[in-house]
């Protein structure tokens, strides 16, 4: 039934009720209410109303989230916090590398002196020097671990970028968007690092296999 016709019918029924004196017949009220419900079924069902309410709630939730994210100043995260953290970590790698090489200089100097020492003492000094060289491997391992963290931070940065784009100008973001991570390729288009998926850096102890396990794989 057309909406106009339904409206006219309901208005006529209401006018008839208005003229009625005395008590209302509940059945007549039910009939009118059903007519109203029937009239909206064509455009918006009860399920549709529920969906509409849900969408409205979702819109309110998104607006609240957007306001909360704006308060966090996500543009600061990308323009200040993450670059600062990356710089700090890079500095740690540089500082430990420099310190390690200073240790090398000193130890190599000591080792050179062993030629002037009694053989027994020279042997003990050489053993100690070897131990120091072995221990200095920490710089290589920590450097690789920190590089992994820097890579993770860069991924966070690109996710924040995506978030900023999703919410648009309302967050008053000035930072330009970064292109999504892309695998490096050679000029011919071949992957620059075909073993990239295998590169995970130093494993945490619970994920790593031991040298003995590796030796077993070599039979």
């Amino acid at each position: 039934m057309a909406v106009t016709a339904v409206k006219e019918k309901i208005v006529a029924q209401l006018q008839q009720l208005h003229k009625t004196e005395g008590s209302l017949d509940p059945a007549e009220v039910v009939t009118i209410v059903e007519s109203v419900i029937d009239s909206i079924e064509g455009d918006l069902t009860a399920v549709g109303l529920k969906v509409y309410a849900d969408i409205e709630a979702l819109a309110r939730y998104i607006n609240t989230a957007r306001a909360e994210i704006a308060e966090l100043r996500p543009d600061d995260i990308n323009s200040e916090h993450l670059p600062a953290a990356t710089d700090e970590l890079t500095a740690i790698v540089g500082a430990t590398e420099q310190a390690t090489h200073q240790i090398f200089e000193a130890v190599e100097g000591i080792e050179a002196l062993t030629e002037k020492m009694e053989p027994e003492i020279a042997e003990q000094i050489s053993a100690a020097v070897t131990s120091i060289f072995e221990a200095c491997g920490f710089q290589d391992i920590t450097g690789q671990r920190i590089t992994k963290v820097v890579t993770a931070l860069q991924q966070v940065e690109s996710k924040v970028d995506a978030l900023l784009h999703a919410f648009g100008d309302d967050l008053k973001v000035d930072a330009p968007a970064k292109a999504p991570g892309k695998k490096k390729t050679t000029p011919s288009g071949a992957p620059a690092r075909p073993d990239e998926d295998l590169l995970n850096g130093p494993q945490l102890p619970e994920n790593a296999i031991s040298q003995d396990d590796i030796d077993a794989l070599f039979g």
Partner: protein, 129 residues
């Protein structure tokens, strides 16, 4: 008497100067003094083609050419294919080791390592010394 020529030319490859220095010094402690260095796979490959080496000790994770790519190139080169090749790396997942083994690596050392481990692996590849 050792059958290993302690003066053999060895090429060590790593993009971390610290690790190059550690390996060089540990090799020196073990008696190997003829050691050259390269900081990535492509530089190493050039050196291997310019000079005859008896052993390569390489890191895996390097740019632009990784140790794995270097190994693949070495094994594909008729002149270099039998060259002993030891991978020293922090990549200690099983799939990494299997991938390296399938590519033809002679032995595999996980960082951090000590002089004793290095000596054991060198002996396994070169013979006792």
């Amino acid at each position: 008497m050792s059958s290993v020529d302690m003066g053999m030319p060895i090429l060590i490859v790593d993009d971390y100067k610290t690790m190059l220095r550690i390996i060089r010094n540990l090799l020196k402690q073990l008696g190997f003094n003829n050691v050259d260095e390269a900081t990535d796979g492509s530089a190493a490959l050039q050196k291997l083609r310019d000079k005859e080496y008896h052993l390569v000790i390489s890191d895996w994770n390097m740019e632009p050419m990784s140790g794995m790519q270097l190994l693949t190139e070495v094994r594909a080169d008729m002149k270099l294919k039998d060259l002993p090749f030891i991978m020293i790396t922090a990549e200690s997942k099983t799939e990494n080791v299997i991938a390296a083994k399938e590519a033809g690596v002679s032995n595999y050392i996980v960082k951090p390592f000590n002089a004793a481990t290095l000596k054991t692996k060198l002996s396994a590849v070169l013979g006792n010394f």
